[in-house]
Symmetry: C2
Subunit: 570 residues, 2 copies
Amino acid sequence: MQLLRVDMKQGKTRWEPVPSVYTQLGGRGLTARILLEEIPPTCDALGPLNKLIIAPGLLGGAGVTTAGRLSIGAKSPLTGGVKEANAGGTAGDLLPRLDLKAIVIEGQPETTDIFILVVRNGSAELVPAGAARGLGTYATAEHLWKKYGTGCTILSIGQAGEQLLSGAAIACTGEGEQHSNIAARGGLGAVMGSKGLKAVVLDKAGAKSVPFADPDVFRTASKRFAQELINDPKLGPKGGTHLYGTASITAAVNEMGSLPTRNFSNGSFESSEGLRGETLRETVLARQGKIGTRCMPGCVIACRNVYVDDAGEPIVGTLQYETIALVGSNLGLGNLDDVGRLNYMCNDFGLDTIETGAALGVALEAGLGKYGDYESIAGLLRQVGEGTTLGRLIGSGAVTTGRVLGVRRVPAALGQAMPGYDPRSLKGNGVTYATSPQGADHTAGNAFGARKEVNPLGVEGQRQLSLKLQIISAMLDSTGLCLFARPPVISDPQLMVDMLNGRYGWGWTKEDLDRSNRDLLRTELEFNRQAGITAADYRIPEYMRTEPLAPHGATFDVPDSELDAVFEAL
Amino acid sequence: MQLLRVDMKQGKTRWEPVPSVYTQLGGRGLTARILLEEIPPTCDALGPLNKLIIAPGLLGGAGVTTAGRLSIGAKSPLTGGVKEANAGGTAGDLLPRLDLKAIVIEGQPETTDIFILVVRNGSAELVPAGAARGLGTYATAEHLWKKYGTGCTILSIGQAGEQLLSGAAIACTGEGEQHSNIAARGGLGAVMGSKGLKAVVLDKAGAKSVPFADPDVFRTASKRFAQELINDPKLGPKGGTHLYGTASITAAVNEMGSLPTRNFSNGSFESSEGLRGETLRETVLARQGKIGTRCMPGCVIACRNVYVDDAGEPIVGTLQYETIALVGSNLGLGNLDDVGRLNYMCNDFGLDTIETGAALGVALEAGLGKYGDYESIAGLLRQVGEGTTLGRLIGSGAVTTGRVLGVRRVPAALGQAMPGYDPRSLKGNGVTYATSPQGADHTAGNAFGARKEVNPLGVEGQRQLSLKLQIISAMLDSTGLCLFARPPVISDPQLMVDMLNGRYGWGWTKEDLDRSNRDLLRTELEFNRQAGITAADYRIPEYMRTEPLAPHGATFDVPDSELDAVFEAL
């Protein structure tokens, strides 16, 4: 496999063999390692020294179900530390079949020109963005499909990324017209914008099958993996994740008092009924929308939906839990139509719905709109696309919005907004938010699934739980697996080892796999350390330690010493 | 002497004896020590755990010329580290004569009420701000003088502090109607606003003479100190500082290519002629304004002016160099009338002219106004007082303005905007900007005066020079001395030792004085370390290392290793 290096200053592309230090790395593991090896951790995240790295997981392209997540990494303009965000779509499967282990975007044009990177027929070139400039991500994809064919996968930024806003995301197309796959977190869209890169076009013509070191070992393991997912009562065809999507957890999170409500001022939302997975399913089916669609080819879980309006017209490609929490209950909205419309706007502008939902919550607390009032909220969000100062502010994320508007109650850790679980009543997530090298993140080590093993309101065991989950996340994000697909490989890690050995012939043991996952976290922590991030930064905001959260009256009371000790056992 | 503690949560005040650990500390030394002893360095700067400390220098109230500077300290919302800003006016002289070593403002009201702290007749009380709410600092002082008498000294915040903006300052009144004395830097006005404190009224009725341990030793030393200042060719009655004010250096800074011009994109300004001290003097005298006024009672240097318009009406209480550089050449303005009007607005809103000038420069680079166009610039500044989102943004300082507007070229260190010397062509100042625990600051260790000893464009000797100057600054800021008054005490430190021993009877040696100054820096560095500030933060922005500055084509090329080594010899 090869690395494609793109020099945005010179406007040149270069294919090169993968350096040996990167060979056994993929996805988040590869992006983290390239960052630590190749950029100064103290560099200006939006300057020429940062690099944007696009890397499929180790199992991408091999036909493993759910293993097509695409990792995108860079130093984050939001956290100032290492960042990886991953997304579904077709790129994670396609890149390895184009013989690409990663695309590394380097440097910065000296003009304000912006470009499209076109990868086709074994070559790559930069062409002027032309009419794509200023378009939203949906229109950008339409424009480029028209030009390069609908067989292409498109990664693009919208107005937010072009404006270099720290809440900007990168949108990735999937099968057919569906392209609500967003590498959302940490402002990677702003990094892409700072490189003068509007979009990447990946043409699947010429894609090949990936080679296998031991096809039998691989096939046996990957088949068993898929079968175990299908057999799983939660994930299989009759499971909640498939039937209700990620919104299947809304009711449970609300019940445990952890549902972000009106800028994280309550853990329980009186109108959460309207945001439940059951409501979503009924509404979509009644309106002739779609339930059980996929973000990646071949996924056996199929947790997505096409959320439609009364007339059956699509509102947004999929409505997922974190968005429902952050732009729903967090803004006092209990209606999925409202949430879906805000979600579409975020996707189109190329914005992280979590960061933007949190920023909007802060703006509402400052009095710039009203909780529960769709029109005032949509009016604020629309301004991001328009590029007004207020729009730029909200697009810059929750922390900056709070700073400028004088709001102290900002739900964020390491500069990044919290996803859909208030850490006061799900303390394991608080430990992960505080200590993950990624900042507050719902995929870096989510304790929701372990709520029956470790008391979400207690302190005991949270630090051990968070570390365990963070190591699992490292594995998933390196191999390209979806978070939901973890049960089979957790209960039998040999399954993962066999898939990797079958694909690459490394002769790994379970210990090698474990070491690799831990190494990823060590790499990220080392990057952050060199970037100047210390224990003082790996914290939950002060107000969450003192303001009790209804309905349990819980504060975040995990001692700092416990946070500092999370990685002692790494 | 006593400490006055003001509990803003309970609305109560308490006088207490000075704890022994604070006895030999004053001004910046005392504020730093109280912060390290009494607040968690990681606390939310605008939350209830931060404290705002108002402390005169050790020689305040004793009738030493130029020694009436008032220190105000807190954790900074701008830098996230320790902060002290000092100002002239009458408070630094008055507080010790009211037997007050410091006022410590603690806690935070649980409502949005705001208050006035009134200190008179040996008591202190909090009263509702009433009609003072929302007023600028000039109108606040007028309002409070009407109520409490013109004999009172007023410390107040304007609209910027009430809005909790990180560029907000605290204004301090002086003799008569003149009150352009600003404790400007680091967002202390926002901290005061976060405490719900609009103003402090200090009634001089009941003020006494301070006691002297050895009046003869004190008198001999303080007289010699004053006489040496009078005899100094630069500082005496015929010296440039008196005749032309701080603007006397405009021409020299321009000539050395270090004058911030159009957002620090040039070190030389084609219209700098209009900003020179000579121009200022001629204009003021021709218009019947005042030259050679004082910020503190009894100052023998008297570097201030009352800058007036064509009709002889005051535009602003004094025009000083840093303001002239930051809201003059840095915004492309070569006319002192324009600068004076912007200066007045900053003072009235309660804004740091350096931070705000830098933020405006960034906003102009983003295209929100035009360099050299007073109307567009004043229009932006006016919005801070009006509280629009754009106004709030600019009032939040240069770094936040750059982040939201997508501008990478932000002249700041440790989150705080640079004063009137581009560090690329005055590298000693660059070393101080980068390494001072205060962030970029012109009084923390200014190498301009040493430009003939150490080549401003060279690397050699800068680190040693910066440390020397930072230690001297620590002495000045602890004793209440003005930066200009340093020559006599530098050439003979025994003079300072005698004044302190004469006042307090400590029996100090020169070594004790030196230890005390170094201890101050150690205290501040330790606070910052605990706040999570590391070597990665003590840096000059990346673009200044790569973009050459006209006219010398200089970059900031002092190696990081030299920056890291500054305090090795502390």
